[in-house]
Symmetry: C2
Subunit: 342 residues, 2 copies
C-alpha cells in the first residue's frame, strides 16, 4: 500500500487504514523560519494574510523543508473580529483589539459581516494554494472557535483567565449566547468558503477552552462549537477540533460534531484513546518544547506516541503551535521520525 500524503491525511481523519501516520505541525509556517522573516521584513502580517500570493508563499515555505502531509493556509483566527471592525493589532504580548466587544452595537456589527465578501482573501489564498499543492498534499482550512474568538473580543486581548467573558456569561447569559452563536455562524461561513475554494480538511481552534471549568465548557463553549459543525455537516470533508485543556474536556469535546480531536500535550495519547475508544481519530500531541531537545529524544517521543496510538486513526502533530525559537532542525527531526514509521 502506497499512499499520497493527501490520501494518507484523509484516511487517518476517517479512521481508515494508513501506510504510516500523516504528519503536519500547527503553525508550521511562521517566525521560526528565516525565509518567513524575510517576507515579513517587506510586508506586515496583515498584508501577508490579505494577499493570496504572499499567504501562499509563506504556506509553501515549510513544504520545501519537510515531508509533511498537509499544508494549512496561512491566515489568522482573528480575521472575523477584524472583519467586524474590532481593530486587531499584533503587539509583543499578543493581539489586542482597539475596539473590544461591548454589547448590542458590536453584536450588530458581527451579524452584518458578509464572510464571502469581507474574507474573500482567505478563499483566494486557499484557491491559489490548491493549484500549488493538489493533488499531492492535503489542504487544511481553519477558523477560531466561537469561545476563543469571543474571549479575544470581550477581553480585548490575551487573558490568563478570560474572566470578563465569564462575567458576561454569568450576568447576561443571553448576550453571551448571542455573541457565541453569532460567531459560530460566521465561523461556519468561513469554513464553508474555504472548502468551496479547495480545502480538503477544516480545523477549528479552541485555544482557550482550557481556561474553563468543565461546567462552563459545556454551557458556553460546546453549544457554540456544536453549532459550527452542525452548520457545515453537509460538507464532505473531515473536521478537526483542536482544544487546549483536553484532559478536562475530552469527552464533552468528542460530542461537538468533529471527526477528529486535536489535543494538547497535557494528556497522554494512550489515555485519550482509552477515554474515547480506539476508533476516534486523534491528532497531536507532542510538546512543542520537545523540538528544542536532542534529535534522538524527539525520535523516542514519536515512537512512544506511535505505540500509544497503534499508528492508526492518528495524525502526528504538536500539542500547540510552533513558537519562534524552535530550530528548523528540530522540526525536521520530528517530521523525519514520523516518516520513518512507514
Amino acid at each position: 500500500m502506497s499512499m499520497s500524503p493527501r490520501e494518507r491525511m484523509l484516511a487517518a481523519c476517517r479512521a481508515q487504514r494508513v501506510d504510516r501516520p500523516p504528519v503536519w505541525l500547527m503553525r508550521q509556517a511562521g517566525r521560526y523560519l528565516p525565509e518567513y522573516l524575510a517576507v515579513r521584513a517587506k510586508h506586515s502580517f496583515w498584508e501577508v494574510v490579505r494577499t493570496p500570493e504572499l499567504a501562499v508563499e509563506v504556506t509553501l515555505q515549510p513544504l520545501r523543508r519537510y515531508d509533511v502531509d498537509a499544508a494549512i493556509v496561512f491566515s489568522d483566527i482573528l480575521v472575523i473580529p477584524e472583519a467586524m471592525g474590532a481593530g486587531v493589532v499584533y503587539g509583543k504580548g499578543g493581539p489586542t483589539m482597539t475596539r473590544p466587544f461591548e454589547g448590542e452595537e458590536d453584536l450588530a456589527r458581527l451579524n452584518d459581516v458578509d464572510v464571502a465578501s469581507s474574507l474573500d482573501y482567505v478563499g483566494g489564498a486557499v484557491r491559489l494554494l490548491s493549484e500549488n499543492i493538489h493533488p499531492k498534499l492535503a489542504l487544511i482550512g481553519f477558523a477560531g472557535a466561537p469561545l476563543t474568538l469571543a474571549s479575544y473580543l470581550v477581553e480585548g486581548g490575551p487573558s490568563k483567565d478570560i474572566r470578563h467573558l465569564k462575567a458576561l456569561a454569568y450576568h447576561d447569559p443571553d448576550m453571551a449566547r448571542r455573541l457565541l452563536f453569532g460567531l459560530a455562524d460566521k465561523v461556519a461561513d468561513l469554513l464553508r468558503l474555504q472548502v468551496e475554494a479547495g480545502a480538503d480538511v477544516v480545523q477549528v481552534f479552541d485555544s482557550w477552552a482550557g481556561l474553563l471549568t468543565p461546567a462552563d465548557y459545556e454551557a458556553l463553549a460546546l453549544p457554540a462549537v456544536r453549532r459550527v459543525f452542525a452548520r457545515i455537516a453537509d460538507l464532505d470533508v473531515p473536521k478537526i477540533l483542536y482544544l487546549r485543556g483536553a484532559a478536562s474536556h475530552l469527552e464533552a469535546a468528542a460530542t461537538a460534531g468533529a471527526d477528529v480531536l486535536s489535543i494538547d500535550q497535557t494528556l497522554r495519547l494512550s489515555d485519550a484513546r482509552a477515554r474515547l475508544g480506539p476508533d476516534f481519530p486523534l491528532q497531536g500531541n507532542l510538546d512543542a518544547a520537545e523540538l528544542l531537545g536532542p534529535p534522538e529524544r524527539i525520535r523516542c517521543r514519536v515512537q512512544e506516541q506511535a505505540a500509544q496510538t497503534g499508528g492508526q486513526a492518528w495524525i502526528a502533530n504538536l500539542g500547540q503551535g510552533l513558537v519562534p525559537d524552535i530550530p528548523p532542525e528540530g522540526v525536521k527531526a520530528y517530521v523525519d521520525a514520523v516518516v520513518e514509521l512507514g
Copy 2:
C-alpha cells in the same frame, strides 16, 4: 459539635469529621482590597513582605471582613530566588529576574542560601501573626514548589510554556535535577522555619505544573516536590500541595507526600474524588471568576461543591489566587455561602 476555625481547618486536612467545611482563599490578602492598596501606597511590595508588622497587617485585613478559617502569611513564592540574588522585580506582566539562572555559578549561589538567616523575616511575620490569630484561626505557611521556582529562574519571568526549563532538562538532565533538588532543600527549610515560628499548616504552590506533559511532570516536578515533603515528614502539621493542571497530574501528585491536594478549577471535585477515593482531602476549586458573578450564583456553586464532596475532607477555596478586580462583595458572598453550610 462546635469547632473553632483552627480545629475545623486541621480536622478537614486530616479527613476528620467537621461541623462544616473550612474556607479560606488563595491570595485573600492583596490588591482587590482598598485597605491593602492604602498600605501599598506607602510601602513597596518587598517592603511589606520583609517587614513583619506590615506583612501581618495586610494578612489580617481580609480577616476583618470575612469569616475565613485560616490566615496565610503574606509573603511571596519568590523569596528563595530573591535570597540567592536573582533580583526579583515586580512588573506589570508579572515578576522578572534581573539575573536568570544560567548554570553552576547560580547553583552554587542557591546552595549557599542560609534560609534561617536570609529569610528570617518570613519567620518573624509568622511569629507575630501567630500572636494575633492563635488559637482561634489556623495559620498557613507556604513556599513555591521547586518546578515553579526553577521555571521563574530559568525563564527569567512568566512563560506560557516554560520551554527553556524543559530544554535544559532535555539537554542537561543532571543540571536540571540539581537545580530542582537544590530548590527542594531550601523550600523544605523555609517550610520548617515557618512551622517552628507557629504555622499550623503548610502549602506548596506548583502553579506551573499544568504546563508539563504527564511524563515530564513525573520526571521533573514530582521527584523534587516529593523531596520537599520527605524532608519535612517529621513535622506534625498538615501539608497541602496546590497544582494547576490537576486534571492531567492528579494521581501522580497524590503520591507526592502531601496530606491534601489543592486543585484548580478545570477538574470537577466529584471527578477528583472518584479518582483519589473518598478519604483523600481536597482543597478548592471554585473558579475565581465566579466571584464576579451574582451572589445567588456563587451560593449555588458552593452548594454544588459541597454536594460533590459530601462536605467532609474538603477545604473550600478557589482554583487559583484572587485577582485584583474581584469585588470584595463577591468574596463575602462566597465565604458566607460556605459558612451557611454549617
